[in-house]
Amino acid sequence: MSEQYPAHAALPPSLQDLILDTTEHRGQTQLSCKAPNHRSLLENFRHEQGYDFLVDVTAIDYLGKDTLERFEVVYVLRRLGARRDQFRLHVWLGESDPTLSSVVDLWNSARWGERETHDMFGIVFEGNPDLRRLLMPEDFPAFPLLKDYPLTGRGERRQFPRVVPRGDQMVEEEPTDYPTSIGRGMHTPEYIEEVERDSKPRK
């Protein structure tokens, strides 16, 4: 089965040894390897075999499952033109050091996928020049797609100052039941001064 897939068959023997497993399900091929080895495989796919399009980078958290490692980082590769096909490379990654080398230098589209995967799973892609939060607020303290993160969060959704009327002004009260606040970037002293000036009635 594994020899049938062209991307696997075209690898030199030394790189073929890095492939742990090949599965095919309903026409979708999946290769898997261990964490540091993904780099040389992906370089071969990019430069030698012409996989010019990285469709997506994402991850799977196998917490509590009997798997090789906790995380699997998934690269979906496609090549266009006469030899067009698509497959996935699954990279096993341990939870003690969830760090991978970035492939931004191979595919520019990895910037977004790696950034989202970092945002959701906390996986660090070394070499990615812009690994900021993508979907969550910049100061969000958790990685929400981890399986041990509760669906309703750990109270982050209550960590906002309360805007309450006091006399003729609106003031911000810090929440007493939660010590910190997220989204504070917008509530700088300059901002508070600005809105207090603006929200006062003109006499």
Binding site: R157, V195, D198, S199, P201
Partner: protein
């Protein structure tokens, strides 16, 4: 034909400043729409011809909070949007009122997840809630009437108006 026919020949009207100011305010509310989800579709329907909120004096929809006195929060508010909503609310000049339209804005609706604010009234004042998922335009019109009642009961010497 109108009010003037009841005033007699001299055109005098006896009232209080409070009553006349509130009468003016409640019949010329300028809404600021804050639509983030399907409730906003119903809100737009309420503003447009078939339901026509302008029959009740609230047709001047302002997309700048500095020109509005009624904030209509219609839709899901996530944790990234809440500071924006608070900023917009604070940019509105006094006096101002808030309608929380629909289940999501009022209590989070079915979205009991880590990103969703479970009711905007946790973090800012709300005057009238509209139930529904989404509420029909008639419900929003009814909320406007409720806001008009709230406005009609304001006292202009209260702190709300900056006096």
């Amino acid at each position: 034909m109108g009010l003037e026919s009841l005033m007699g020949g001299e055109g005098f009207l006896t009232t209080t400043v409070n009553a006349i100011v509130n009468w003016g305010r409640k019949n010329a509310l300028w809404p600021m729409p804050f639509g983030t989800a399907c409730c906003a579709i119903e809100m737009m329907a309420t503003f447009s011809g078939r339901y026509d909120i302008s029959r009740f004096g609230a047709e001047v929809v302002r997309f700048s909070p500095r020109q509005a006195d009624l904030l209509i929060v219609s839709g899901r508010i996530c944790i990234k949007m809440m500071p924006v909503l608070q900023k917009i609310y604070r940019q509105m000049p006094e006096p101002k009122w808030v309608i929380s339209m629909g289940a999501c804005a009022s209590c989070g609706g079915v979205f009991d997840t880590y990103t969703m604010i479970q009711g905007v009234d946790q973090f800012m004042p709300v005057d009238v809630y509209v139930p529904g998922c989404p509420p029909r335009p008639e419900s929003l019109l009814d909320a406007l009437f409720e806001i008009q009642k709230v406005v009609g009961e304001e006292r202009i010497d209260s702190g709300k108006h900056g006096s």
